[in-house]
Assembly symmetry: C2
Homo-oligomer: 644 residues x 2
């Protein structure tokens, strides 16, 4: 056993030879960010080995100078003696979330009637106390009265409810409110279940919660089940981010040691935090929340339920569960009423999950006669094409470029991020807007789209994304990693360094947008339609809200249909979960959507590669698909852009 000493925490731990620094740090209670899930790919867990012997399995993300200075990746370096380690300051996760700003609208296609649509019902009963002449047991007595007065038969209950039953009945002097779930997703015919027994008449309120687990953000709505109203919200970053920023990294992390259990704990803690926050705002005791529905992508739901997600990332990409049985809150450790049913919404495939089926029901794609394209762009681009008669879906790996990762100066859409850029067609000087009006620290996804579009329209880059070094501006220059364009000089930025976009970044963005557009194209081709036939384009997800449609069309990320056909709908997933929480009909409908939606696995689809290659240009090889962009270029900022 060796001693591993951590600074600046000043903590010692004992560990055998071969222990990863990451493991020793966890043992010491030190949180290291590992956005790549501990694969040595992101370099963010670098620490400094001040003294002692270690072995670096990988230094892929470190320069020889870094290694000489003692840097080592905590996830790739094992101790081989007593060591002293300095942990650099870890990036703090920003607490200000864009999703908290968004307005809540849960619009049903029909009026909400809790009596007919809601399976959670409260029943007040005044029981005849037992006597020597009426010797029915407590449980039979309650069942009998609920049957007599409300026609409930075959009422069941789990053990913890029965363990409290006798005491509650006697303390409440036989006047009680039974909180009953009449049916669930997997027991649509019942029998009804007693979730909770409350003293006195407490039929005037009834609470539920809807949760969306995003890879990045977890959102909860506290819902009044009697009115259908969302009374409060909570949102926070998914605490799993520190164990992998994207889905694949999380799956990798989950497959190692106690990784799955740890990831389940982290997302449970996040859910409990946001539920507690929503309940505090709504002035509701979380134990009064008697039902929860959860939407999220397939991997997030596997992690919540601690079902190993490995098969999701291995060909042929099969999840273990698409249609989740109902569980109780105590089985998952959710801090609502322990007997509350927790229903995860059904998904379609490994990469078209319950977040998408929830989005489809909440946006009404499944109800409309208008041909609709529904998409949710994040690390993965998930998309659905269809109407009330048919639905076809696919997912493409856009990579994390639009979330600000994989791009040199990329960052999340938080304060200090450049979110919009304009470039002068004469001087090639940019103007930009920064979130929070601060000095810029980097560029977020919407800023990158805007920047790339402006560079293309003004001829800073050509159709192929190549920088034009002949322009009369110092902003186009050779950088450390090849050509780059300077968006902000160090004198303007918070950290004093230039903010640039490099050729490598541009290629990453081209691949990301090409993957998304190729997805659209394959969907349309699979049903013999053109993208331009779409009568509406509905965009879900937090990222979607901030996209400038014009710019997104100009780079060929979105199809070139009139702007008025686009709608940005924010978190369609949590709204779908809310609808499924409130209504049996919506519950049935989302299950039907998951059943009948056709899923195209793009890795098995040859046309995808063809479409992808065609889309690797600005906006596309085939300019005829983008007439509005062609028009801009024709009238535009100096005719056709320079050809490189």
């Amino acid at each position: 056993m060796y001693v591993v000493h951590f600074e600046p925490a000043g903590v010692d731990v004992q560990a055998p030879a071969g222990t990863l620094i990451e493991e020793a740090a966890r043992q010491a209670g030190i949180e290291l960010n590992m956005p790549c899930g501990g694969q040595g790919r992101c370099g963010r867990c670098a620490v400094i080995v001040d003294e002692g012997k270690v072995r670096r399995r990988s230094t892929l993300r470190l320069s020889p100078e870094d290694v000489a200075a003692g840097f080592a990746l905590a996830c790739q370096t094992v101790i081989e003696g007593d060591v002293m380690i300095t942990v650099p300051p870890q990036e703090r996760i920003e607490r200000r979330l864009t999703t908290e700003k968004q307005a809540v609208r849960v619009v049903f296609p029909y009026p909400y009637d809790p009596q007919t649509q809601q399976p959670i019902q409260r029943f007040f009963v005044s029981l005849e106390p037992p006597s020597l002449d009426d010797q029915v047991d407590d449980w039979g007595r309650l069942q009998r009265e609920l049957r007599r007065r409300y026609g409930l038969s075959a009422l069941t209950a789990h053990l913890p409810v029965l363990q409290e039953l006798g005491r509650t009945l006697r303390q409440a002097e036989w006047q009680v409110t039974a909180v009953v779930e009449l049916d669930t997703w997997d027991r649509p015919q019942g029998p009804p279940r007693l979730i909770d027994l409350l003293p006195g008449d407490q039929t005037a309120v009834s609470w539920g919660a809807a949760v969306d687990i995003g890879t990045t953000t977890v959102t909860a709505y506290l819902v009044n089940l009697l009115t259908g109203e969302v009374v409060a919200r909570g949102a926070d970053y998914n605490a799993q981010i520190g164990r992998g920023e994207d889905i694949i990294s999380r799956i990798v992390y989950a497959s190692k040691g106690q990784g799955l259990v740890e990831l389940q704990r982290l997302v449970r803690e996040t859910i409990n935090t946001v539920l507690a926050r929503a309940c505090r705002r709504g002035k509701v005791d979380p134990r009064q929340v008697h039902k929860v529905t959860v939407a999220g992508n397939t991997t997030m739901l596997h992690l919540l339920q601690a079902v190993p997600p490995e098969p999701i990332r291995l060909t042929p990409y099969i999840p273990t569960v698409n249609h989740w049985p109902s569980v109780r809150a105590e089985e998952l450790g959710l801090a609502v009423h322990p007997q509350a049913t927790v229903d995860c919404l059904p998904g379609v495939a490994s990469y078209v999950g319950a977040d998408i089926t929830a989005g489809v029901i909440s946006t009404g794609v499944c109800d409309t006669r208008a041909l609709t394209l529904f998409l949710d762009i994040g690390t993965n681009g998930e998309m659905v094409l269809g109407d009330c008669d048919w639905l076809v879906s696919c997912a493409c790996s856009a990579g994390p470029a639009f979330e600000g990762a994989g791009v040199d100066c990329g960052m999340r859409a938080t304060e200090g991020a450049i979110e919009e850029v304009w470039i002068s067609g004469q001087t090639y000087e940019p103007t930009y807007r920064v979130i929070g009006n601060e000095r810029p620290r980097g560029i977020c996804g919407s800023g990158l789209i805007s920047l790339l579009a402006e560079m293309f329209i003004t001829g800073v880059v050509d159709k192929g994304g190549n920088l034009n070094f002949h322009l009369p501006t110092p902003r186009v220059r050779e950088g450390r990693h090849g050509g780059e364009y300077v968006v902000a000089w160090g004198s303007e930025t918070e950290h004093g360094r230039d903010i640039v976009i490099t050729k490598v970044d541009i290629d990453n963005l081209l691949r990301a947008k090409a993957a998304v557009y190729a997805g659209f194209s394959v969907l349309a081709r699979s049903v013999g339609l053109e993208l331009s036939d779409a009568e509406q384009v509905l965009i879900g997800g937090a990222f979607g809200q901030y996209i400038n449609v014009e710019k997104a069309i100009q780079i060929g990320l979105l199809p070139d249909v009139p702007w008025e056909k686009f709608q940005f709908l924010g978190n369609t997933s949590v709204r779908g979960a809310t609808m499924a929480l409130l209504s049996r009909d919506m519950r049935r409908r989302v299950a039907e959507v998951a059943e009948r939606m056709t899923y195209l696995e793009l890795s098995a689809d040859n046309t995808f590669y063809e479409e992808f290659t065609s889309a690797l240009f600005l906006p596309h090889t085939d300019m005829d698909k983008f007439p509005s962009v062609a028009a801009v270029l024709r009238r535009g900022n100096g005719a056709e852009p320079a050809s490189g």
Copy 2:
């Protein structure tokens, strides 16, 4: 905080002033017997305070000499300073159980057919592995194949099964055996539930277990669900005995602090021990046991499920649950397959529990046209009168006399107990038989019945139970507590003390037998019949097996019907549990029995006291009810017995 030192263990614990010695002992890991549940009634937890200050709340069971010698009841004495305590040797619970001797016969009223009667079924499936062309999720794939091949629809599962699903399917290369429960007690229409998924074809075996939780003894049968055969048994004393010998003491103990949790743990440990023993004998891995049924009296089932039993002992004597919902083994901590369903059989009332309903179905009382009296005599006498058309039941508190407690020289029916006595009508000298042919240590229940009958028939006592001091024998004498008869002189006994029966003991026995007989009488009167109309008398329970019918009739414990009408059936409760385990029909039948059996609460019945008073004589006030006894007395050992 004071220091409490225990000898001979040599253990110190710290405890604040006011701590019960019993609590300190538990903290020190020292087991003290508390047969009365810590009420200060039995005196068995006496310890010696060698040094230090204590306060004795009760010394009811201690003489002034005992107190002077330092004795204190651990359950009634609190520490008030540093103390040194000596714990006398605790009575060891004998491990040789009479129930293990008994032959196993589970006789169904029809041939056993596992395919139609057994809800636990195993299905082998060979799944098509997933591919890019067949993207159905693992759980959907398994459901689909079970539906196609075996017509199973709406299959459900609990989370732990899904957590293992993907791994099992892939490791077993998609060849698996699904262990499915088609329906349960509280879900008679299903849906079917996947309990376990085993690699390969494992359809050749299937296991279940039936358990009877007696107040004194816990018995388990390991059952082959494919043949209906009981392949092995296990039995042991209920470890709760140390926390109360009778039901009332257990309820009192359960109401204190963590008493309920502790009693649940103790019975769980006993069940797990006997199940493990049965499985070892049957060479079956306990995790292969996929279903368990449990019978037991109402209090025992409440303690198993940790449902507070207090209301059972408080007027109007209402249990919290008579009809138990199904639970899973992991919810109770039973060491079989964690997803195995555990069904507790239904009871009728606080003192007519699932042990009686199980007895009724296993003895066929509910199926016969012959008027039947079924009884189970222990601390409580539980009895049922009826036939296939009607059933009426009651329970009377016989007290622990027949279990050897509450009687000066009483003991359980283990080695060293006098189990049968004969008294010479000439010399009044007794002959006796001792269990294990050892030197006697005391007298067990059957010995007491035999002794009392012989004393009555030979005139050692009169009709009223009074000793005849005029007889020419030194065995009838004045003892410390009044009159007594010496059964064994100190020179013959193991401990060197005389074994006697006192007038106080005789009065206790008279009250016990009078309570039982009054119960019979009330049952018969309630339906307008005479006890002599009974066409058969079926006696269940371990105690019942050793009763000498002739003697029991002579003291007026059993009704005076011809001996050939009596049958001793041993543990009818565990056999009923076995039948309910094996057959849906039996499961339904026991629920029907529990529903339709009329229960007479004797404390609410005026005729009971009348009958009880009439029965407080040997054999009864009304000698016409006992013609066979009258005949014995007439021809017998010196005509009528002496009259006092």
